[in-house]
């Protein structure tokens, strides 16, 4: 027994700010002090509050140290672990009560409204030690399924729970399984989509990094339910930590006989192999993902035939997303009613979001379906930094849309998001403030789609390119009102005619910004201005003579010599020479450079 445990976050965010070195410093200093029999250092998955990383939590106090540096370790070891005095200056201030004692993390605004199901082990166990997962009831669901339930019963439980695919579309998981189970074949496959291509989303990565066994256990359960003996996890190669932990987990599960031949002595065989993606967004689409595992260019195939009939290697296949799988063992152990008691009428359970952009508490949050955007942004997220105004939230990545401030009280679930022109997507939630130009954001996503379009079908390959050209024209100040109509018409054409889900949803960022921020488009077209001050070619720099102290610093930093004026004489910007680089604005100490 250890009297104290030091949990150090080993997620990608904290690892990027040197949490590995911090963990090693703890280990060596604890050893030096002769405390290594009393204090244990544990590397865990993501705690969620990435904005405050690197994070260290010391139990039994539950003391939450934030933004820890390697130099701070000595103080924590000396004061806290040796003398029992909490290092107050490093403690997350929200966890310190007025009387000075430490509050539970669950009482902080960030964690209070969260409900952790898919993330329940993230930040709690060491993902590289299978015994810790087993101690949290791990592999119990698999045991229950194999020894007490028929495949039909398993599918029924998943159906009754109301679980819908967490990768974006929201198709019923139980129904998907039952379709694949109904098709007879000599070989079937269970695939896991961990190709989290949506830029700004890191939910699946965090689950794989923090709780890889939950995904493996769920895949084995799915294998039993549909009659498959082989699984593939298709994971992004950009996620080295996730790939490593997944491979460690597979090895350990095999050693324990929880994967492989004759699992639990029941005669059920199931094996999992990891396949690395190579950076193609379209491979998040199910048929493209399977084509890629087969070793080809990852182009989508027309459906039907659906993967439940002809999927990977032309055999019946199910493909679910990482977060979907992470829910399965809990549903089996706690029952369908338990899961269905959370969420809204048609969207059960919880959803993990990666909260990012212009928000205080960037990180990973898991909330019951039906939580409003306002609760997520203002309470959990802690609002917008710098006193700026909330403008929009983007969900669903390049397939989704922007939700304006007027709809901030919308309860988040699959159907509500679609009704307001966005979509759940895999769970990226990017917050934007008044400094973000919505036309520019639409352009950003279209640049992405044009880059990532696989080129198989014309509506997507050519259509998205034409959309981007129109957006470029508008942001350069050359757009006409006619262009806005053309833009909208082309969007609907692409939606109706593209081959795969990605092409069909590619116009969503344009459509939703046109719907809610048309005035910004019109400002670009008619007034030739960018209200947010982002679109460079529309900006005009000028000097506010009242604020200018005539120091001539700006004339010296200007790379093109566009600013006329000498010390003690008025300064003026020659707009024909100005390249709008912003060097003068950065240099001016009096805020005299204004942008219109």
């Amino acid at each position: 027994m250890y009297r104290s445990q030091v949990l150090v976050c080993g997620g990608t965010g904290c690892t990027s700010s040197h949490s590995k070195e911090i963990r090693e410093a703890f280990e060596s200093q604890i050893r030096d002090k002769g405390l290594d029999q009393e204090v244990k250092v544990v590397q865990t998955g993501c705690f969620g509050l990435c904005a405050l990383g690197p994070i260290v939590i010391v139990y039994p106090e539950g003391c939450f140290y934030s933004r820890v540096k390697e130099e701070d370790v000595a103080e924590i070891v000396e004061e806290h672990l040796l003398k029992g005095r909490i290092v107050k200056r490093l403690v997350y201030d929200e966890t310190v009560a007025e009387e000075g004692h430490i509050k539970s993390l669950n009482e902080t605004n960030f964690y209070k409204k969260q409900k952790r199901v898919a993330l329940r082990n993230c930040g709690v166990i060491n993902p590289e030690v299978i015994d810790e997962y087993i101690a949290m009831d791990g592999y119990q669901a698999l045991g229950k399924v194999l020894t007490e339930m028929t495949p039909q019963e398993v599918i029924q439980v998943v159906k009754d729970s109301g679980l819908r695919g967490r990768g974006g579309g929201g198709f019923s998981t139980g129904l998907k399984w039952s379709l694949a189970a109904a098709n007879e074949a000599d070989q079937k496959y269970v695939c896991c989509n961990a190709d989290e291509g949506d830029p700004g989303a890191f939910m699946d990565r965090s689950v794989l990094e923090g709780d890889p066994h939950a995904v493996l256990e769920a895949m084995a359960i799915a294998g039993y339910a549909i009659g498959a003996s082989q699984g593939y996890v298709y994971v992004r190669a950009e996620y080295p930590i996730a790939v490593h932990r997944l491979q460690v987990a597979i090895e350990q599960a095999k050693d324990y006989g929880l994967l492989g031949k004759n699992i639990f002595g029941t005669g059920f065989d199931f094996d999992v192999e990891v396949r690395l993606g190579a950076g193609a967004f379209v491979c998040g689409e199910e048929t493209a993902l399977m084509t890629s595992i087969e070793g080809n260019r990852g182009e989508p195939r027309p459906r039907p035939p659906y993967p439940a009939l002809k999927g990977l290697f032309q055999k019946p296949t199910i493909l679910n997303n990482v977060e979907t799988y992470a829910n399965i063992p809990q549903i089996i152990l706690n029952g369908a009613e338990w899961f269905a008691s959370m969420g809204t009428e048609k969207s059960k359970g919880t959803k993990v979001f990666a909260l990012g952009g212009k928000i205080h508490n960037t990180g990973l949050v898991e909330i019951p379906m039906g939580t409003t955007l306002r609760e997520i942004i203002e309470e959990i997220g802690g609002g917008i930094p710098g006193g700026k105004k909330f403008k929009a939230a983007q969900t669903g990545g390049p397939s989704g849309g922007c939700i304006p401030a007027s709809l901030i009280d919308t309860p988040i679930d699959y159907d509500n998001l679609i009704a307001i022109g966005s979509m759940m997507g895999s769970g990226g939630l990017i917050v934007m403030d008044e400094d973000n130009c919505m036309v520019d954001i639409a352009k950003f996503f279209l640049e992405f789609t044009v880059d990532e379009s696989c080129g198989k079908c014309t509506p997507c390959r050519v259509g998205t390119k034409r959309l981007l050209e129109l957006l470029n024209k508008i942001t350069k100040g050359n757009g006409t009102m006619e262009d806005l109509d053309k833009l909208e018409e082309l969007c609907y054409y692409i939606k109706e005619n593209a081959l795969c889900g990605l092409g069909q949803t590619a116009p969503n960022p344009v459509l939703s910004t046109l719907r809610y921020f048309k005035d910004e488009y019109i400002a670009h077209v008619q007034d030739k201005t960018c209200p947010a001050g982002v679109c460079k070619s529309m900006l005009k720099y000028s000097i506010n003579d009242d604020k200018c102290k005539r120091c001539s610093l700006c004339t010296r930093v200007c790379p093109t010599g566009a600013i006329e004026g000498t010390v003690k004489n008025p300064h003026k910007i020659n707009t024909e020479k100005c390249i709008k680089c912003g060097a003068c604005k950065d240099a001016c100490k009096f805020g005299a450079i204004e942008i219109h």
């Binding site: 990027s16 949506d198 830029p199 700004g200 950009e238 193609a280 952009g357 960037t362």
Partner: protein, 165 residues
């Protein structure tokens, strides 16, 4: 996405070729072996010049057209050699709204290279990548395996100087 082919002469060694052959032997006959083999080949050579692609095609008994098709489809396969230090600026949404484009501009200004280009001395190459998942640290860039977060364009010159030394 268009990819440029390398115009530099191929400089693979016998050892590298032997390593590649071992990889090919290990994977021969596996379903869908092509991509894992290409990924390992890129680890061995650093990029996938036509010479390496043709060795893979021959070794796996498939056509060079198919290998080339796969190499040009996925953004991670490089047909041109990279610099000693690969600078990769994240242009995912979270980084973009926090000003990642300004980082790219600052690097371009400092090194004189745009995305997918390499400096003449072979020291730096620049690429724009899509989300490395460290959104809490946005905006982020990586230089080889080192991650730099919460950046502003003012940090760029100082960071690059470390690698020039």
């Amino acid at each position: 996405m268009k990819k440029r082919k390398s115009t530099l002469p191929f400089a693979g060694t016998k050892e590298q070729e032997a390593q590649l052959m071992t990889v090919i032997d290990e994977h021969r006959g596996d379903p869908g072996a092509l991509m894992p083999v290409m990924q390992k080949a890129q680890d061995i050579y650093g990029y996938l010049p036509m010479e390496v692609q043709s060795m893979i095609a021959k070794g796996l008994g498939t056509s060079i057209e198919k290998v080339y098709g796969v190499a040009t489809f996925y953004s991670q396969f490089a047909l041109t050699p990279k610099g000693r230090y690969t600078i990769s600026v994240c242009l995912g949404t979270a980084c973009y709204v926090k000003g990642a484009q300004k980082l790219v501009d600052a690097i371009t200004k400092s090194l004189g290279i745009g995305p997918d280009e390499c400096t003449e001395d072979g020291l730096f190459s620049l690429e724009a990548c899509r989300c490395i998942g460290a959104c809490g640290l946005a905006p982020v860039m990586t230089i080889n395996d080192e991650v730099y977060g919460r950046l502003t364009e003012k940090d760029i010159d100082g960071i690059l100087a470390k690698y020039k030394a």
